[in-house]
């Protein structure tokens, strides 16, 4: 299936290669580099590239291209999902998945890749199993290892491998048992010029951090489970209970994991927490333009909007921006042509405004289209869909754990057309 993997930085530096079958020369990546050049933006590189003898399937994540080499038929999604799993594993192990951390931990990375695939077919991808095989690096452990000469590699088969609960390791023990759930909702929306939502939907996830001893069996129920009709679950969740009772019943993995994700697309359920008044215009003569943006709260359910950021991808001809912001700071990068206005917390009494002039390349025709605005925001203690966790019950263990639920709403792909 997956023959080889190459990691390539955004700058085009091939900094890691791993082969699961016979070695394939890294020159195969030339086809990738060709496509990369053609695509201009890294996001636009086609995920599947065909070369005379191989297929290159790649993902772009954290400024790294994960390029896998395939020789025979395999569902492309299979490979793409796997590559994402690799990236997530790195993130899990090293805190972040970046060129530097991968280079710093190259041996562990190599050991991980060795365990994750055998002959190109996934072998162990569950974080809990991997962590028993190869312990994640910590400062303390690396110190102890250097002194005692002990290693990061487990000597016995992880218990999860053999059980039908591969995601949980056996014999977990905590002094304080806790289970925290974060309900994170992202609003994906497109607003048109007049501010009405052309399209809006909510992508929600429930992230869990469960540190419970033994083999707890948890049941999470919602006040309003009917809201959820399109859901995907972590493999630990029992589909049947969800189908019949609309409760989430599961034996949790140990540590952090994503319990479920859901999707709410019914328009009337999606509140738009923010409105934008904008006026961007380019003048026919004088190589200049004007920009005026005001942001205000809309349906915020009485909560404050935080971390408000407006990002504008300006047309190529915009050379510089001379603006003034009543709140926050703005920055225009003339190379990437991206204007970022970091507003911060929204004060409903005094609406933030960004106003001023844009100077264009002289002689160039004025841009056809006004750039659209991308909004970032955050609302604490609110799930914009109204989803509420009712209760969490722990069965199978005697202790009473600390339980907690946190809600947060963010802007996902939130775009305002102009």
């Amino acid at each position: 299936m997956i023959h080889s993997l190459f990691l390539i930085s955004n700058a085009g530096d091939l900094f890691l290669e791993k082969h699961w079958k016979s070695v394939i020369s890294r020159s195969v990546c030339d086809y990738f580099f060709e496509a990369r050049e053609k695509a201009v933006e890294p996001d636009n590189v086609p995920p599947v590239i065909r070369t005379p003898h191989h297929y290159l399937i790649n993902i772009y994540r954290e400024k790294i291209f994960f390029v896998s080499v395939i020789q025979t038929e395999v569902p492309p999604l299979f490979v793409i999902e796997f590559l994402h799993r690799v990236a997530e594993t790195f993130q899990d192990y090293f805190g972040e998945c970046s060129e530097t951390t991968i280079k710093d931990n190259v041996v562990i990375v190599y050991e991980l890749l060795e365990e994750m695939l055998d002959n190109g077919f996934p072998l162990a991808t569950e974080s809990n199993i991997l962590k028993e095989l190869i312990r994640p690096p910590t400062i303390l452990r690396s110190m102890v290892n250097t002194i005692t000469g002990s290693s990061n590699v487990g000597e016995t088969l992880p218990t999860g491998q053999l059980s039908t609960i591969p995601w949980r390791r056996a014999g977990v023990k905590y002094t304080s048992n806790e289970a925290y759930f974060d309900v994170v909702e992202e609003i994906d929306a497109i607003l048109d010029k007049s501010g009405t939502a052309v399209f809006a939907e909510i992508q929600g996830v429930i992230d869990a951090c469960v540190k419970l001893s033994g083999m707890p069996d948890l049941t999470l129920s919602f006040m309003n489970p009917r809201l959820l009709d399109d859901v995907s679950f972590h493999p630990c969740v029992r589909y049947k209970r969800w189908e019949s009772e609309r409760v989430i019943s599961f034996i949790p993995p140990d540590g952090n994991f994503q319990l479920m994700s859901y999707h709410i697309s019914a328009q009337n359920l999606v509140a738009i927490p923010v409105y934008v008044k904008q006026n961007i215009s380019f003048f026919e003569t004088g190589s200049s333009g004007r920009l005026d943006i005001t942001v205000g709260p809309k349906q915020t359910m009485g909560k404050t909007l935080e971390c408000l950021v407006v990002t504008v991808h300006m047309p190529k001809v915009v050379l510089s921006a001379n603006l003034s912001a009543t709140q926050g700071t703005y920055n225009y990068d003339p190379v990437t042509k991206i204007l970022v206005w970091d507003i911060g917390k929204l004060n409903p009494q005094k609406l933030p405004n960004l106003k001023g002039s844009l100077s264009l390349q002289s002689g160039a025709p004025k841009p056809e289209e006004n750039p659209s605005l991308n909004i970032d925001l955050k609302i604490q203690q609110l799930a914009i869909s109204g989803l509420k966790v009712n209760r969490l019950d722990v069965y199978g263990e005697k202790y009473k754990p600390f339980k907690g639920v946190k809600y947060v709403t963010k802007a996902g792909k939130f775009q305002v057309r102009t």
Binding site: Y55, V106, G149, T156
Partner: protein, 964 residues
């Protein structure tokens, strides 16, 4: 690398050597010097690493190996270290060992001879008691691509395929394709191993062996038959990656084995049309008879249904590849009416239209795909919304996307007649766009649209004729010229003028434009030769000397065709018809069409080209192959109903108590002797049938069973008893008897004279079958009457219910027994309540041992296995625990759980299997207990139960009981 270790003595020496070389070669040419230097460097560069690898310290070795692996990761050549590294293959330090493995697998192919040195280590590893070491030895051994060890690999794989550890068996499955790619001649032997592993019942192996099957012998679907149902049932518990592979394989399998569920619908409709005609009635009747004979009504094969049913829950998987695999399965296998269920998961159909609206920040390929979806979803109802949306796309800065949007508008216009004019007008407006690419794309699309109804649009054609002065994109110029030529009659004045201009610029045009100029000239010559004769001659002359032979040929051909000469024959007369024939309007098609024949979601489907190793999705068979091939033989089907139970006197029943005195789980071990194993099948069956009928009697026997410790005795007795027993099957439950443990609810002293004890009577609680019957015995030890004894203020976990007993009174030193029901909701949570008398209140609580939450059920062995399969598929996670080897389960005990024996199949002499079934009282959840004894005294206990907790606790309790 070596510089950082220059303090090392070895390196200093090397430098000295190099130095002398340098002096020696001073007079030589510079170039050569550099060559030699680099050669020297090559020889010595890894000396420090070699030295570290040779050292005694594991930490040094580890450091060296880490640096070597880092080199490999960066793609640096480290092959010269092979001898030094391979020596460490037997290193004690597991991390060093693992890194050596990494190195070995990477370079073994290049250094075959040296690699052989390591083989013996792996052969030893294959025998290691630690399953992880066995597995990794096999992994590495099979990854060493050296042909000479093929026989060793083959042997290792065969052995590993029957290893005790499923993990090792999984590794064996992984090794199969490795060996196959190294030496395809081993195929036949490998298929045997695959066949063996396909029969494996563990989820761990299933995905890997199907993967091996797909790589080695994907055409041998006959190997799947017997495993089909098992694979379907295991599917939900297989890891995600295995699920994808299995589902894809089963899709292909189903296409060869089942009938097309949509075929019948098609035929039905055609039949109706057939019957509608009243003519030829006789023939009709004949046809009717034959069709009736031919076609039985379609009934879906239950196995086909099983696959659809068992894959459906996986649509909720977090793994997109799994969701896609299920979606394609439904697409290819499900009746049309059911395909809809995948739409929600994939978000594919109309209600989700807006999910495909495009953001300016989407990657180009996503934009193009979304556009494709939007175009396909467009219909009369939503076209206005979609067109409005398209208008915003046309303004995008991403020009490829704009071009694709214009094409999409064109496709909508051709598909939906109502909006053709609107679209056309919109596109005409785009002709004045500043961006030439936009204009060019519009021209091309407009050309196609105009072809559908040119008469009404001569003004647009005129407009486009004017564009020829400005627009430079060759494709657009060619399109305009073609339009003018084709519809020159609609623009009689402009057309000759355009030709004039083109004649002037002919030499500077691109080839496609030149061809269209020739075309235009020819058409004008035929319709308006007066004005254009000379121009045409001129253009044809220019073309005659063009560099491109295609253009020269075309000119020669057209001249012969249109200009009448002596030689030109019959064709000349038809020239006009040839050139100005009515041409069919082009169909604007999706760039994604024509790939239906590939399995959805495959690489080949994505690329629209067959990738290596792609397995064609076969067509449905005309008639269904024999479905019985999937029947799994139950070797002992005759004995399936043979049930060995204790007789009424139950001599063979042994009561065990768990270590936790409080939670008493009744655990009967029916003594079992080799004698019964040897007895003839017929006799066994007879005895068994009778035994089934006697379940009730088991209970009565308990008092005795407890006392009868002697195993041999009890066996014999039990046999005799079962023979003599009569039909008492009606009452399956166990009457309370002295043997049932009494628990104290209220002590005489705390109760101020009132003593309360309770037990679980194990009888159905008649007012509510979902409740556990609790028998409570009150004893009044005082001298006064206790009145109004009742329950108050129950504090229960949510869902739990209590059915109180009726209020009673107690005379001094009287003892009264009542029964109450508690629905524990299948949990071992205590039921708390207050026991009230006319004077006092006592807080009490009843906590059931897990075994008391169940009642027996009767299952035949076949049913048991089926249920067990379904339990597994029903997303229950069953626990598998191994009993300690010294437990009493060795070979003489036939265990019998909570006094509910169900089936005991004839145990194969070496490793008998015992099965017990019960169900939980509250929800009726099946609880299946299987005890597999192993040779040498060990036993494996499996509890299948949808309720995880119950299962886990039961295992714990049983293990505890057994270890006593």
């Amino acid at each position: 690398m070596s510089l950082s270790y220059s303090c090392n003595g070895h390196i200093c020496e090397n430098l000295l050597v190099m130095d002398s070389f340098v002096r020696f070669l001073k007079e030589r040419e510079q170039e050569q010097l550099i060559k030699i230097l680099s050669f020297l460097f090559y020889i010595f560069r890894h000396d420090d690493l070699k030295e570290m690898l040779d050292s005694n310290k594991d930490s040094l070795k580890l450091e060296a190996m880490k640096r070597i692996v880092a080199m490999i990761a960066r793609g640096k050549n480290a092959s010269d270290l092979f001898p030094a590294v391979v020596k460490n293959v037997a290193c004690k330090n597991i991390e060093v060992k693992k890194l050596v493995y990494v190195y070995l697998v990477r370079y073994a192919e290049e250094q075959q001879d040296l690699a052989l040195l390591s083989i013996s280590t792996f052969q030893r590893g294959l025998k290691d008691p630690n399953q992880l070491i066995r597995a990794s030895a096999l992994r590495v051994l099979s990854s060493i691509r050296v042909t000479i060890i093929v026989p060793i690999m083959m042997l290792a794989i065969k052995e590993a395929a029957s290893d005790m550890s499923p993990y090792v068996r999984k590794t064996a499955a992984h090794a199969i394709p490795k060996l196959h790619s190294l030496d395809p001649e081993q195929k036949d032997q490998l298929i045997e191993v695959i066949e063996k592993l396909l029969a494996d019942k563990t989820t761990l192996v299933a995905g890997s062996v199907v993967m091996a099957f797909e790589e080695v012998c994907p055409d041998r679907i006959d190997l799947i038959h017997k495993n089909y149902r098992k694979l379907c049932n295991l599917l939900i518990d297989v890891e995600e990656w295995g699920q994808v592979v299995i589902i894809n394989m089963l899709t292909r399998y189903a296409r060869t084995q089942f009938l097309n569920p949509n075929e019948s619908l098609l035929e039905e409709s055609s039949e109706k049309a057939f019957y509608a005609s009243d003519d030829e009635e006789d023939e009709d009747k004949k046809a009717e008879v034959t069709t009736l004979e031919k076609r039985k009504p379609y009934v879906m094969d239950p196995d086909h249904r099983l696959l659809l049913r068992n894959t459906k829950p996986l649509l909720q998987s977090r793994n997109a590849a799994v969701v896609m695999a299920v979606a394609q399965l439904y697409f290819h296998l499900a009746p049309k009416a059911e395909v809809g269920i995948i739409a929600k998961a994939l978000g594919m159909f109309e209600p989700y239209l807006k999910s495909f609206y495009i953001r300016s920040t989407d990657p180009t390929q996503i934009k193009i795909l979304k556009l494709e979806v939007l175009t396909n979803l467009a219909n009369e109802a939503n076209i206005s919304t979609i067109l409005r949306e398209f208008q915003t796309y046309i303004k995008s800065m991403d020009k490829d996307f704009v071009a694709a949007s214009i094409q999409a508008i064109g496709r909508c216009a051709t598909n939906i007649g109502e909006v053709r004019d609107t679209c056309l007008n919109g596109l005409v407006q785009l002709l004045s766009n500043r961006d030439e690419l936009v204009v060019a794309e519009s021209v091309v699309v407009i050309k196609k649209l105009l072809q559908m109804q040119p008469e009404q649009h001569s003004d647009i054609i005129k407009h486009m004729a004017k564009l020829i002065d400005n627009i430079q994109v060759p494709m657009a110029r060619a399109s305009i010229l073609w339009l003018i030529g084709e519809y020159c009659e609609h623009v009689p004045k402009i057309a000759p003028d355009v030709l004039r201009k083109m004649a002037k610029s002919f030499t500077n045009e691109e080839d496609i434009v030149k061809l269209q100029i020739i075309n235009l000239a020819a058409k004008l010559y035929l319709t308006n030769s007066k004005q254009t004769k000379l121009l045409t001659q001129y253009v044809l002359n220019l073309a005659k000397y063009d560099q491109n032979y295609d253009i020269r040929d075309r000119a020669r051909f057209i001249r012969q065709l249109i200009v009448p000469t002596d030689k030109s024959g019959a064709l000349n007369k038809y020239a006009k018809k040839l050139f100005l024939a009515l041409k069919p309007a082009p169909v604007l098609e999706s760039p994604f069409k024509d790939r239906d024949h590939f399995q959805l979601g495959s690489l080949s489907h994505l690329l629209n080209a067959k990738a290596a190793g792609y397995q064609e999705l076969p067509d449905w068979p005309e008639s269904a192959p024999d479905p019985s091939v999937r029947n799994v033989e139950v070797k002992d089907s005759v004995c399936a109903e043979r049930t060995v139970l204790t007789g009424p006197e139950g001599a063979g029943v042994l009561l065990l108590q768990t270590t936790r005195g409080s939670s008493n789980i009744l655990f009967h071990v029916l003594l079992h002797h080799s004698h019964s194993e040897q007895s003839s099948g017929a006799e066994d069956r007879k005895r068994g049938r009778k035994a089934v009928k006697n379940q009730k009697s088991a209970s009565e026997s308990e008092s005795e069973s407890e006392s009868s410790e002697s195993e041999d005795e009890s066996e014999e007795e039990s046999e005799e008893e079962s023979e003599s027993d009569t039909d008492v099957r009606k009452n399956k439950t166990i009457a309370p008897s002295g043997s049932i443990k009494m628990y104290e609810l209220l002590h005489r002293i705390t109760g101020e004279g009132l003593a309360v004890e309770y037990c679980f009577s194990r009888q159905p609680f008649s007012p509510d079958p979902n409740m556990v019957a609790v028998q409570i015995q009150f004893t009044n030890n005082t001298n006064s009457e206790t009145k109004n004894l009742h329950i108050e203020d129950p504090r229960l976990q949510s869902g739990m219910r209590i059915r109180e007993f009726a209020e009673i009174g107690l005379q001094p030193s009287e003892s009264v027994t009542v029964v109450m029901g508690i629905d524990f909701c299948d949990s071992t949570q205590a039921a708390n309540f207050q026991l009230c008398t006319h004077t006092r209140k006592f807080f009490v609580s009843i906590q059931p041992p897990v075994g008391e939450l169940m009642t027996p059920t009767f299952l035949t062995e076949n049913n048991f296995k089926k249920e067990q399969g379904e339990r597994t598929s029903a997303h229950s996670r069953f626990n598998t625990h191994s009993c300690p080897t010294d437990c009493s389960f060795s070979s003489k005990h036939l265990s019998f759980f909570s006094s509910y024996v169900v089936v005991t199949p004839p145990p194969p002499p070496s490793a008998p299997v015992y099965r017990f079934a019960g169900k939980t009282v509250s929800s009726g959840c099946l609880v299946l207990v299987t005890v597999t004894t192993k040779e040498g005294g060990g036993a494996q206990l499996t509890v299948n139960c949808e309720k995880m907790v119950i299962g886990t606790m039961l295992v714990k309790d049983i293990l505890q009981a057994l270890s006593q």
